[in-house]
Symmetry: C2
Subunit: 382 residues, 2 copies
Amino acid sequence: MPATLPPDSVGLVIPQTLHFDEPLELDSGKTLPHYDLVVETYGELNAARSNAVLICHALSGDHHAAGYHSMKDRKPGWWDSAIGPGKPIDTTRFFVICLNNLGGCKGSTGPTSINPETGRIFGADFPMVTVNDWVRSQERLMRRLGIVQWAAVIGGSLGGMQVMQWAISFPHALRHALVIAAAPKLSAQNIAFNEVARQSIFADPDFHDGHYLEHDTLPRKGLMLARMLGHITYLSDDAMRAKFGRELRAGKINFGFDVEFQVESYLRYQGASFVDRFDANTYLLMTKALDYFDPAAEFDHELSRAFAATEAEFLVASFTTDWRFSPARSHEIVKALLKAGKRVTYAEIESEHGHDAFLVPIPDYMNVFRAYMGRVSTEADA
Amino acid sequence: MPATLPPDSVGLVIPQTLHFDEPLELDSGKTLPHYDLVVETYGELNAARSNAVLICHALSGDHHAAGYHSMKDRKPGWWDSAIGPGKPIDTTRFFVICLNNLGGCKGSTGPTSINPETGRIFGADFPMVTVNDWVRSQERLMRRLGIVQWAAVIGGSLGGMQVMQWAISFPHALRHALVIAAAPKLSAQNIAFNEVARQSIFADPDFHDGHYLEHDTLPRKGLMLARMLGHITYLSDDAMRAKFGRELRAGKINFGFDVEFQVESYLRYQGASFVDRFDANTYLLMTKALDYFDPAAEFDHELSRAFAATEAEFLVASFTTDWRFSPARSHEIVKALLKAGKRVTYAEIESEHGHDAFLVPIPDYMNVFRAYMGRVSTEADA
């Protein structure tokens, strides 16, 4: 709720909707006959169209990465700490674009959109989308904007997976790939957490097989549970200890099932507020896209072979207390890149913020990020 | 389903129900006017009544720790690997007793019992029970059996918390305290997982405010979700990788929400089968007993002061990949005991089995356990 906008903010921004009429065939075999993508841009595209940076969002992210939609906004976009004049992704140098991915719920075509085949809300009939599908839709967006090569493609978590897929699928289309707090594929434990989150949503009687909007309801409890569980995996044990410890909300034990510990209060709040801003079917699709991502699978499960044709220079960054995608998972990426003979910079940032650290302006992290982006050229390769 | 029983089994066992008429005042301020405890015993009590060992069970455990109830049983008791002739808790030397705790669902008075005040099933009206309440009820059981001092009190996880409480509350009543895979109190993250499990149960429309039995139903989906989530925290990331990896059940991705990965199949099976053998209200009570346990709280949060009056000799054991109660949590216990000048042996066992390791007959673990129990005297202190 800034009375005046901070000087290093990109300021007030207006999302734009781009319509695509060319059918998109998805990995699942299904086809989207046409679709919309909602985007935001920050900074100016230069005459050579060579200073564009693509931001890929994570599970619950969207196109609103920086700035404010109105002077009344309580908070700026989700990566405002990293995007703006003088920030690591410096909007005085770069033209930055961020989109809401297909299957999203913030304006791009997704489960809350109207299915052109039936005239009714897609709901559960929206097809599964993969990281590869997203990157292919983003490549069309790139062509629409007349951009031939990104200066950089950047993302954290599920966003980092899209960055890797970009480098693999369209080697010449990006000069730099910034893969932050990501993994080359989910572990069984990661999949297990996603599965419990999905089952929480399915178990909600208001889910109605994914057609809850037609029933004029929402699977509030199920999505709330999924988000509560997600939050545990985003924060580190240390961060939770520092933030809540075993603090009792009322100062004493009440021997009941109402909120007793502060951490319970936090989780319930996070869960309940998420329901008002996110769609359960989108949540389901995003978790499946995470589960499916495994670019090495087509290369005999040899990740270095998946990276063999990439041309981008990489920054890989991880955070010490991230247990969702731990530093060890980033090491897998770095080792595979090195084995493939690629240029890669690796940064392991000390942080107590767990997986969420990639959204937090930790000084060491911002410094590494800024230094790396400082040597990303705004001019196309010769 | 043993055709003949293994030679190192305690054999066929028959649970016994003991009735207690003396009212038990609980930490919550409520009173149980009378109650039953179901127990099993293995081995023979010696004439001096000095060779008795108490086994305390964990969250989903019960009195059936060893042996078989019938020749048709598919599996023996939950700690059969550790209890029997020649096993670490050697039934040729010790008289072993294990009980179902108050609030349980396997025959001891709990939420599925009849409330004597109303003549109806307790359900959600069963009072909260704490680790301290359990230990006090176990001390009455001890007196009923004419035992003045346990040779040892032994437990893993929540069972280990009861062992600590025994040593603190009744210093002279046990010669040895074996605390396995436990923690001196839950972390915020531990509480957070419990809270999501509880909310899963509450969210089930068949929960009926805890009076589901009177509605002739069960909160199956909610309890299933709680158990699925629990299972993720019992297994290590490594164990899940070794057990399931990213194996696809049908060999290929099917782009749907049915089971795709083996780990999903495992979790759903574990969750679904738990519902048939466990009560949701008991599950809720057990998670709260875990959350509340914090013996240092009464001693200015100084654990060594909580241990100051203890007389038992301790074995503390932890497992390298246990992330629910990691070795660091056992170190807290050991450090506090050392600071208090107590005798303690510590073993950190290499294992990939996560928290579940305490139930697994890992050779190093069994050797340490056997060696320690080998020097536990069956004779009373002079």
